[in-house]
Amino acid sequence: MSDQEKANTATSRAPVSQRGHLVKMPTDGTAIGALVTVSIDGQDVKVPLGSTILEAAKQIGVKIPTLCYHEDLCIAGVCRICVVEVEGQRTLQAACAYPITSPLKIHTHTRKVRQSRRRILDLLLSKHYGECYSCFRNTNCELQTLAAEYGVDFFRFGHPDKPSSELDNSSYSVQRDMNKCILCRRCVRTCIDLQEVGVLEAVHRGDKTRISTFMDKPLAEVVCINCGQCINRCPTAALGAADPTDDVWRDINDPTKHVVIQTAPAPRAAIGECFGLPPGTPLTFEMNSALRAIGFDKVFDTNFTADLTIIEEGTELILRLHKALVEKQQVALPQFTSCSPGWVKYIEHFYPEMLPHMSSAKSPQQMFGSVIKTYYAKLNNIDPASIVTVALMPCSAKKFECNRPEMASSGYKDVDYGLVTRELAQMFKEAGIELPKMPKSDFDDPFGTATGSGVIFGATGGVMEAALRTVIELVSGMKVENLYDHANILPVRGFEGIRYVELTIPKVGPVPELLKTNKHLPFDSWDWLAGATLKVAVAHGTANAKKVLEDIKAGGKLSECHFIEFMACPGGCLGGGGMPIPTSPAIRAARAKAIYAEDAAYEVRKSHENPAVIRLYNEFLTDGPNGHTAHHLLHTTYTPRGKYIT
């Protein structure tokens, strides 16, 4: 077994037989070991031993339809839509699940195959309630696409004309409509196997089989972390995000409301996908114009508070380190990042005992809401009660986060609505806006200027890279470019599940003025950090988060870390549960490329150099980072929820 396989078997609850499939065989012919030649529809193709029929077919451009198959997930082989004929086999074989171990003759569209696929579709449609034109997945539904491809022109085995189960809209984030479920179990495999949360599972047998939660409880009452990864992988509209679009329109049209929107970095790298552009086409500045065109009064960049988060979270880390190293006090280290609300709810449910490790800094979304309803309101002489803050996010969990009762320290709800990428695209379309053709315009003042560090928050490793850029410069007084080419801290980038980096502080400089504004700073020189080695790690996807937490509990290497970035979603925010559907490793990689390209294009790329952030501390948060005002408005507390919910 390879290390990767061992890692998979260690925590995965996927059946043993399916775990091997998590390891992708390279199909470019570079695999060590034997190649085997198979014939597909008369065309020969050489593939590494163990490749599936589906992979072999892809290699020569033969399309085999799939439903339950998903690149990110282990193999199920349950929908049977991908069946093909293998010569010498009595029955048809599922192309997604059949490993090639000997030369085969395969036929992908014989009469048997076509008849079977068509009837399988007919059977699925006989249970799939709903008309396509009243469905939010209309034109983006895998079942609909297949029905079109296979020329479904009548319902051979009927079609339900009324719903048989109630919509579960209990959650602020994720909605379930089991009337549209076709039991492909991608959500189950996402929740159990990919995220290792385990909220969804198949219950009952035969035609009574349903996807359900523990004791059939509503989603709001189980350990769902709202990551929405299931939404991204659902082929139909059985899973969706709770949609606040109507409320947002209402407030936009209300002249007494001042409606502002902050936009996170990840959506701008992906919203083009909703308008037919390839993944990784950034539309940042077109989006600004479009947002104003549909009626938002101001358009801000969440990157501003991403930078603010870095200052607050970085200061908190330095204070923790000082406590541990100099004051010799008990303090929870490593410090965990707190920007990902899916991750926050995950640790609240599954590792409540480790909550002291969490940075108390609010996420950029919530900090922004808070700053808008205080500093911005005062600056522009607007009644905070009339301000509506909308957050454009890649993330379904942000919807839950903005509704947390503790997120109102200014006296007003920090963020009124969490809107996701898909929903904004829908609003644009409704307004007749063709986003890619919009003119470009910048963000609004006073937060206009963003930095590259804020942008890369959208990718896994981004928060860590931003934090390191700032910490290195603040402590050493050196330019980070002297250590890393173009300030690109490459070791923390990439898609490997867990990344560990050590970084020695080469020398120390003077304590910068920004920090000194905090009167309670317990030190006035960096001497105590001279020659120190900073150990950091990055994890994305809660399955990897689980591995990290278990390693820390067991006193492993990661327990020596000082700072760890966690993102609930595979790939980080760019793989968030509010992002355009579909998702795949290639799509996420393309989005990441767009984000890093945007970072490289910024003049200011370090959070502590953001002039708007410096101005905010000078004018408003005058007692400095982690000072009293900052603590009141920009920091939060957590709830140890545990796994037993009453």
Partner: protein, 396 residues
Amino acid sequence: MSANRKGLVTFSTIDPNAALAAAVAKTRAEIIGEVTASKLKGRGGAGFPTGVKWNLAAAAKGDAKYVICNADEGEPGTFKDRVILAEVPDLVFAGMTIGGIAIGAVKGIIYLRGEYTYLREQLESALAKRRAAGLLGPQVMDKAVAFDIEIRMGSGAYVCGEETALIESLEGQRGEPRNRPPFPVDTGFMGQPTIVNNVETFACVAAIFAKGAAWFASIGTEKSTGPKLFSVSGDCARPGVYEFPLGIMVSELLREVGGENAKAVQIGGASGHCVPSSEFTRTLSYEDVSTGGSVMVFGPQRDMLAVAKNFMEFFVEESCGQCTPCREGNAKLLEGIEMLEEGRCSAAYLDELTKLGEVMQLASKCGLGQSSPNAFLSIVSHFQDELMGRTHGLVR
């Protein structure tokens, strides 16, 4: 053993210890060679050559290997494994031990049907006796081979008789069949090479080592060797467990059990085939009508639609629900039967259902879905007049 037969039932004459002694004197290759020479095929009904299966598992690489005895006797109308386990369990244990030696496994597991819980105590005590006698344990028969057997209970799901669902169940998962390949001989219990054989198959293995592969192969037909137990039920004078050589004609069997005037016989249980009286010259063998042992006799008074309905109700209930053709298809077939009952099923729709049944046979993930339409299809093809009669207002 209390099976009905003229003369002594084969299994009663076998000494399990002699069988095991004969096996431990051989090399692993010789054991597998002997099983292969006997041409023994799986007694669960699928008829896979046991020697081939063992050879694959023996050749497979694994940290550990497992021998699993499938005692989840759930096929409707089958009850012969219960008799074997109750009366000659040592034959099964000896067969499993031989299998363990053959493939290099030190652990055997009996997956015992939930409804057979009452047998567990006596099976455990039989195992304890074997351990005390040195027939199980770290040194089987004082040889340098270790083997022991554990009993694990099923919980009543029919699909757990499917070998990969059985393994999932043993691993603590929902009992749902896996994708095959990889097969259990390669990736089985806990991902390790595993042989899963029926209770009767292991008993046959003991018989082969007690009496020789040549003796075994001399019974039955060229392709279906050895004696076979049949569970006979339904409209016959003498239902019960019978032993016949494989290859016996349906009519001969009916004569033995007192069911000569049968209208049809369901062979192979709910997942098997319905043989009408016009075809009673067919033989019970792997090459003709294959069965794990279930033979249900239907007398002239039986309503074949009711028979089909009974089977379909069973499959709707017992489909594990993961793959589309089986989950939805069985329900559609049952709906069709209800339409037939009410005289609402057109010939065209019946034709549609027949095609659906064929798709289920072709495209389902496991043997359950692939065989669940068998009974429906064979009843429709042999008794179409009786079924369609109702569309003309002839409902009783």
